[in-house]
């Protein structure tokens, strides 16, 4: 007891106590807030998949998108966006958003495949829209022409997603994400649904064959070996220039200083 009271007067006692309290409260809160979202939605056996989707929608999405998916000041209407849009946004974890930032970013999905399918079925029941893309129907490995895909990519995609598909900045904190490691199905769905800032590239302007070409090119770019060593993000002069202007010039300045130094 005496020892404890002695420790109480230690100069680090107060900061340590505050840190311990913050960690305890913080982790307890994050555990508590994470729990409801991972809970599996209970559905009665007689309900259809659309009803199940509606239940999930009312709990997880309606606070922003409205009770009937009509949209609000902070979120767009989902009527007519189609199942493909839901599959893309929810399947890549972009929706539900973690916070009200400029852009929903890819993260670990909150809903599992079955819940995503139910949500997609519900949104598709509101109005017709693009259907969920079956990954086996794209067949980019067989039909995709990498060279044609490169030409199409440079004309249609490269201005936002960068010439090496590494992504790039837009305005006000928005950005075009990198396409490295994105599944062909989601690339296809993004093109037909136009998520967030991205415009739509429907099958009439870029045919399914064109899209297979583009996907084949992105996959080829993804697997491109970096024979020259570190690729520096493959964004060209920005990182390369930074390295040369700091490290390269730094070394040269060091050598110049040594050159002009008089020996003792």
């Amino acid at each position: 007891m005496k020892r404890l009271s002695h420790m109480r007067r230690h100069k680090f006692a107060a900061p340590a106590l505050i840190a311990a309290a913050l960690i305890t409260v913080g982790s307890a809160f994050s555990m508590a807030s994470a729990l409801p979202t991972v809970q599996h939605q209970q559905t009665s056996s007689g309900s259809t998949i659309v009803d199940e989707g509606k239940q999930i929608f009312l709990k997880g999405c309606s606070s922003c998108h409205g009770l009937n998916a009509e949209g609000s000041g902070i979120a767009p209407s989902l009527i007519g966006v189609g199942a493909a849009a839901v599959d893309f946004q929810v399947g890549t974890g972009r929706m539900p958003m973690a916070d009200m930032s400029q852009q929903a970013m890819r993260k670990r999905p909150i809903y599992d495949a079955q819940q995503t399918a139910a949500l997609a079925a519900y949104v598709a029941s509101l109005a017709p829209g693009p259907k969920v893309v079956d990954p086996t129907s794209i067949n980019w490995e067989r039909d995709g022409n990498v060279a044609d895909g490169g030409t199409l990519f440079r004309t249609n995609c490269a201005m936002c997603h960068n010439f090496a598909a590494q992504g790039g900045a837009l305005t006000n904190g928005k950005y075009a994400p990198t396409l490295m490691g994105v599944e062909p199905k989601y690339i296809y769905e993004a093109m037909i649904t136009g998520p967030q800032s991205m415009p739509k590239f429907s099958d009439t302007t870029l045919t399914p064959k064109d899209k297979a070409d583009i996907i084949a090119w992105i996959q080829a770019a993804d697997k491109e070996p970096a024979t020259g060593g570190a690729s520096l993000g493959r964004v060209g002069p920005v990182t390369e220039g930074l390295l040369v202007w700091t490290l390269g010039l730094g070394i040269l300045i060091g050598v110049a200083v040594w050159l002009a130094m008089k020996a003792r």
């Binding site: 201005m159 305005t171 136009g194 967030q196 590239f201 429907s202 009439t204």
Partner: protein, 331 residues
């Protein structure tokens, strides 16, 4: 207190400070060893270069932190070559700094003009040699040499023609005209108005007459971006509204600032961005500049449809596309 200033005395050279190696034989020996080590390091690096080229298989790779996966023999050749040169320089400079004579030397400045004697002698020599070369007597040689030397001066002048020819109307005209079909870039397919959904974009070029090759210069002028939004979102005057078709609007893709391809389209804000200098154009207000250095909106192309619903241009561009140039009429 008088205004007179004390005359500034030339301070002369500072006292020469001797280096340790100048008076301490042990220090001199040490410096000598250091120089020798640097030269030997260079020699070792050369051996590494040659060994990397001859002895290491190009297939061998190694992962290095920060540098990524590297071809071992390439790395060895590069590092070896760089170090072998670097250490020669390092050794030479260390040698000069520590051991070579470092006493300051004063180099006096002299007048540039030669002495009168020298100048007179020069003129005499020239005259004498010209006489023995018979330059005065053989006028044919003198004149033909003059012609040859004179003409040689002309050739660089003729090459200046490559600065031209003047572009004439090239900067003001494109391949867009009345009833030109819009075709997709790069596939070259005609586009129906119904092919574009709301929120869709398409990169288009004018359909060229059969047998005409599309050149990069042409694409650089003709590139057009088609955007479809909901018609009620337009905020255009009656004329510009008549240039659109059911919410489809077409703009030149060539930035009015420096000529980059303006094609970063934000579907939600309806803003078009130029990637080079961040000029931002509002699609709903006829590409009005809302941010950035561009001085003019992007030229709008008047579009409509033919009997079958394919998109066509109703007329060519009414102003030159792309950045300003000297002879451009409007600002």
């Amino acid at each position: 207190m008088t205004n007179s200033v004390e005359r500034f005395v030339d301070p002369g050279l500072p006292e020469h400070v001797h280096r340790k190696a100048d008076f301490d034989e042990r220090a001199a020996k040490r410096a000598e060893r250091q120089v020798a080590i640097l030269f030997l390091l260079s020699a070792a690096s050369t051996v590494l270069t040659i060994y990397s080229y001859v002895g290491i298989s190009p297939k061998k790779e190694v992962f290095l932190p920060l540098l990524g996966t590297q071809q071992v023999n390439n790395l060895g050749i590069g590092v070896g070559l760089a170090l072998s040169l670097f250490f020669i320089g390092l050794g030479a400079i260390h040698w000069a700094k520590t051991l070579m004579d470092d006493t300051e030397v004063i180099a006096e400045r002299h007048e540039f003009r030669s002495s009168d004697e020298d100048r007179k002698e020069f003129v005499e020599t020239i005259k004498e040699r010209a006489g023995t070369a018979q330059l005065g007597r053989r006028s044919l040689i003198k004149r033909s040499l003059g012609a040859a030397l004179g003409l040689i001066g002309l050739s660089p002048l003729v090459l200046l023609r490559d600065l031209g020819p003047l572009p004439k109307k090239e900067l003001e005209t494109t391949n867009w005209a009345k009833d030109t079909y819009l075709v997709s870039d790069p596939q070259g397919r005609r586009i129906k108005a119904s092919d574009l959904e709301v929120g869709a974009v398409a990169q288009v070029l004018p359909e060229l007459p059969e047998g005409t090759e599309r050149s990069l210069e042409n694409i650089g002028k003709d590139a057009v971006l088609l955007i479809r939004i909901r018609p009620e979102e337009f905020n255009l005057d009656a004329e510009r509204l008549s240039w659109t078709h059911e919410g489809i609007i077409a703009f030149s893709k060539i930035c009015s600032h420096m000529g980059c391809a303006v094609a970063l389209y934000e579907q939600q804000t309806k803003h078009l961005l130029c990637p080079c200098h961040q000029s931002t154009f509002d699609v709903t207000r006829a590409a009005k500049v809302i941010f950035g250095p561009a001085a003019r909106p992007l030229p709008q192309l008047a579009i409509g449809v033919d009997a079958e619903g394919y998109l066509i241009a109703k007329q060519g561009f009414t102003e030159p596309v792309g950045p300003s140039f000297w002879e451009r009429n409007s600002a």
